[in-house]
């Protein structure tokens, strides 16, 4: 097989990321105002407040979603907030449960008292609206099949009036539905989203419909810095992402140089 330009492009990217990841370089990322805003928002919630954590993503975005979620969950547990997880996309269900369980273990938090997981509910619009009327009617049982009322954490949590905020972890447009339909009940919405979705949510953040947002691996790395924690995956992922971005920039410049040389010769 004759190697073509694209094969070299693919191989170089693979080698570059492998070398950078193996190098173990640690980079310092300055904290952006958006990430600081999220940190301050969570910090401003009273200890013991219930935060609904909605896993609105697919498994494909896990490498980006996981560091964001872990950083936000760590902050919630450090601040003694009581996260209640759920999923509006089926694939987010098991991921969310696992992330909450492993992060809670780090802080010695107990299921049913310090955190809970309600599981998946199909038809996201109906689910969001229905929780505005009654969360227990929407989720009569938790993810593990226990009755809603048997969990001490959920006593007195009837609808959004008893929830301090909804934190949507999303790789698509689901956070919009939380703002449009959850906003009807006045619940504050915050979000951890993939980098590709950041610009989609910028108008909502600017208008105040969304209280705060952490975006992409960079946001996760910034949040880890604010928490003073290492090992969440954000900084490490940021390293690979930075290398790939610089590589793409180099390719764009090389491609344009080649294009202008070719154009000058043909003129």
């Amino acid at each position: 097989m004759r190697l073509q330009t694209r094969h070299w492009v693919f191989a170089s990217l693979f080698v570059l990321i492998a070398v950078v990841m193996a190098s173990g370089i640690r980079l310092s990322v300055p904290v952006s105002p958006e990430t600081q805003r999220m940190y301050d928002f969570i910090d401003s919630l009273p200890a013991g407040a219930v935060v609904l954590l909605s896993f609105d993503h697919e498994a494909s975005s896990l490498p980006e979603i996981q560091p964001i979620t872990r950083a936000l969950l760590r902050h919630c547990f450090e601040h003694d907030l009581r996260p209640v997880g759920l999923a509006l996309l089926a694939e987010g269900t098991a991921i969310g449960y696992r992330l909450m369980q492993t992060t809670a273990r780090e802080y010695g938090k107990e299921y049913g008292i310090d955190y809970a997981y309600l599981g998946f509910k199909p038809q996201y619009v109906a689910a969001i609206l229905s929780m505005g009327e009654s969360i227990s009617a929407t989720f009569p049982q938790d993810y593990l099949g226990r009755p809603y009322d048997s969990l001490a954490l959920l006593h007195g949590v009837e609808n959004y009036d008893d929830v301090a905020a909804v934190l949507s972890i999303a790789d698509g447009s689901f956070t919009t539905h939380w703002m449009e339909y959850g906003g009807r009940y006045g619940v504050p919405v915050i979000a951890g989203v993939t980098a590709a979705m950041v610009t989609t949510y910028d108008p909502y953040l600017a208008s105040g419909q969304m209280q705060a947002m952490v975006g992409g691996l960079r946001g996760a790395a910034e949040y880890e810095k604010l928490l003073g924690r290492k090992g969440g995956g954000g900084a490490r992922g940021m390293l690979a992402q930075s290398a790939a971005h610089l590589y793409v920039i180099l390719l764009i410049i090389l491609g344009n140089v080649a294009y202008f040389i070719k154009r000058r010769r043909s003129a």
């Binding site: 300055p30 696992r98 980098a195 940021m238 390293l239 992402q241 920039i249 764009i252």
Partner: protein, 206 residues
Amino acid sequence: MDRKIALVACFAFGVVMFAQYFSAHPVAHQVNQAVLEYWQIIFAFALVLGVVGFCQTNVTQVRKGHDRPYRMAALAGFVAMPLLATFWGIKAGSPFLWMFENVQAPMQSTVFALLAFFVASASFRGFRARSVPATILLASALLILLSRTWIPGSMSNWLPDAADWIRNNPSMAARRAILIGIGLGSLTTSLRVIVGIERTWLGGGK
């Protein structure tokens, strides 16, 4: 006649759901809750249709011999996951969760990560400063890309500031225009469906 029933039902539900939005009466809340429950039940039936469709398509193609190994792998996963969940549960340490975390999630992440290779190739071959608008787009893309690396942290503030300006001004203005357009379009279409002007959801025709 059956079309008229559907149109009347659509009109009735549209008007009732619109009216209950403005009411704090307990009956309005009960109606809202009941409709939302039925909505989820109807959606569950749609899931059943999807499952049946998936099975039919793949079994038919396996019989015909089209992409047999891939389709059989899809069917095996389709049968295995519910069985694992039914017999061993979905808790931590269960075979279901192990399969999800060690097979499905890595496979999907891998396929998604392949995009990086295509983006790299496309950036080299297709992203050219052929005109003034293309050059502006190119410069903006380079700035945003660069701002999402660790480099801004080791440089002066002009790079992150420039990237933020692009995000908060031209990019946000375009996004807002699109969102307002979508909102107006949704409102118009909803009204047309409720009053029966828009009938394509019935299968077309008059």
